[in-house]
């Protein structure tokens, strides 16, 4: 018996997770009060959940409501836990898993958009190429000198990833991304 227990060497029962992780988008409606964001992200770090993207802003000023959009990854079991744990937080009104909701509505997934500011500096052919590609990606020039551009681009995360990758050899200086904003298609609210 000693030998068997030595093998595990732990007071805890450590089981391997057998389900495959999936990525999902959570919309969390909260009272806009001090500390509410810390409660939400503290829950993720404290319980070992992932945050791939986080967006937060007040959405209904009169009611002091903020909407937090979180892209997270985990097994369906963990994602269910995350939703229930979020619902326990006192200032949290509602938590909707937009990806699950889209499935229920027979849709391919929630609409996800991100905005990025991308600064590119360079001269000559690189500069022309950057401007041409920006046009192809429907990116707007929001600031420019003879030495640089700041492009504003919106779209799916994958589109922005691609744009950034293309700009890299053309003199990419810095990037700022907003994180994902998301909602489900159709006339219904969350």
């Amino acid at each position: 018996m000693n030998a068997q227990n030595l093998a595990s060497g732990s007071a805890y029962f450590i089981a391997k997770e057998t389900e495959l992780p999936v990525t999902t988008v959570l919309s969390v409606l909260v009272d806009n009060e001090p500390g509410v964001l810390a409660r939400v992200i503290g829950l993720f770090s404290g319980r070992g959940y992932n945050i791939e993207s986080l967006t937060v802003s007040e959405t209904e000023h009169e009611q002091h409501l903020s909407r937090i959009t979180i892209v997270t990854r985990g097994t369906p079991h963990i994602l269910d836990q995350i939703r229930h744990q979020l619902e326990r937080i006192v200032p949290v009104h509602r938590v909707v898993d937009l990806s699950v909701r889209a499935d229920e509505l027979g849709q391919s997934g929630p609409i996800q958009r991100e905005l990025a500011l991308v600064k590119v500096a360079g001269l000559g052919e690189h500069r022309n190429e950057a401007l041409r590609l920006a046009d192809a990606f429907h990116a707007k020039v929001t600031d420019a000198t003879t030495e640089h551009f700041i492009f504003e681009i919106t779209g799916k995360g994958s589109k922005i990833d691609q744009f950034i990758a293309i700009m890299k050899p053309l003199g990419l200086v810095e990037i700022c991304r907003t994180g994902v904003a998301a909602m489900n298609r159709g006339p219904m609210g969350m």
Partner: protein, 601 residues
Amino acid sequence: MKADKQDSDSRPSQRREMTGAEMVVQALIDQGVTDIFGYPGGAVLPIYDELFQQDKINHILVRHEQGAGHAAEGYARSTGKVGVMLVTSGPGATNAVTPLQDALMDSIPLVCISGQVPTSLIGSDAFQECDTVGITRPCTKHNWLVKDVNDLARVLHEAFHVAKTGRPGPVLVDVPKDVQFATGMYTPPEVSPRTSYHPKIQGDIEAIKQAVALMLTAKRPVIYSGGGVINSGNEASKLLRELVELTNFPITSTLMGLGAYPASGKNWLGMLGMHGTYEANMTMHDCDVMLNIGARFDDRITGRISGFSPNSKKIHIDIDPSSINKAVRVDVPVIGDVAHVLEDMIRLLRASSTKPDEKAIDQWWSQIDRWRARKSLSYTRNKDVIMPQYALERLYALTKDRDTYITTEVGQHQMWAAQFYHFEKPNRWMTSGGLGTMGYGLPAALGVQIAHPDSLVIDIAGDASVQMTMQEMSAAVQYEAPIKIFILNNQYMGMVRQWQQLLHGNRLSHSYTEALPDFVKLAEAYGGHGIRCEKPGDLDDAIQEMIDVKKPVLFDCRVANLANCFPMIPSGKAHNEMLLPDEATDDAVANAIDAKGRQLV
């Protein structure tokens, strides 16, 4: 669900202007609070000044803020009321963290009011400043920093509401010193809970119907109840007993749920889990329908998840949706308060035309009786040395007919107490289950004794745990709280040693206490009464002396040094792979006993 339980001798006050410090005291009075536990300091002096000038709230001065928290927990657990602690900023607040987390894990309603440096100094690293709401955010159900005196009354009332409703838990209200001095409008408690907080009390009737249908098909059923039954109130325990009576189902309970069903009841299997009885664990393993009432499939209960009750359909009643499917997937979840759900369940059972399968359940009982015959709690008596199990058997025999409350520390003595002390009523057993806080029992006993001044309150302790909060003996003496600290002294951190014996090749790394205080002299130094007992033959008289003395008592009960706590589910094992005492003594434990120890055991 406990809103009606706060007994208040004064009518709620009216809206009127007062200082923040006055508001704190007024809110406590309006919430029906009669006793609080605390420790003063710079940032709470205005509140202490108000406490000085009134006589409705009885303040118990502890010797360390951790003691205040555990005392408030003991007070809450033994009364069903909200426990209240009052601490200063900085170290006062950080010392409160352990009891807050303890209360969070065991779902104990607790309100902690902490002082904070003035708002103008917050963030400046001022003297005795810490980010109290930041530090306590993950160890409270909710917390608030009040920056405007006009919010204070509302926040305090909301704090009580959040602490005691839904799944109860600890909350903290941080009050900067300038807010305590400032004048603002006090508002009495009113029923306007915030829109985002609405715990579900009533169970979904369709889910309850499904559960009842499943129960009526059961051939090998078991009820597994937990602390949720205690938290739901006396009515829940009454209904639980009625349900067992009605169905003749066997019932076991977690550590936190002891007393909800009486240990003398004929359907009682004893506690389950890592140190539970053979019959309880085997019944759980082999059952076909499991009814979990207010428990959370803790890892100390389930053993290896893949081997946990593999062939059963599981019903889970819990007020917290996040408990459902967290550790174990269940077939029929019912979200709601235990008393409310049981009421519906019993009504449906009575109305049903089908009845429980009596014949199958009788057969199930004869199987259970065979497991019972294994007598998994047996131990070898010794006429020279006090066996810890024997000490608890005698303690139980001599105190069971009294109005007794039991608290414990954490370790072997705690498990033995759960196995050998038998509880007939809820709210009589206060222990740190989830967090496993050594040092919980002594201050908890103080809190229980303050709530029940004429009852017999015993802390079943270990020699290591009890030293963690020993200073509260001084508070017990000050308030003439005659708590009895019954120390099972084996000079070891017994449970640590047991694990080292089982898992770490018997290398007893730092689990032996070479120097222990003389507990008798220590008791006397505090102004209490000390008793030492070393022989089984002297034990009854010594326990009687402990009961009769009207002072706090430290009872140094010298027990067999190397006794271990069995039965036990070793790590990574399932319920049907228990280690029983007669199997364990020889091979595993014998290695640990040297020549000197062998004489003792």
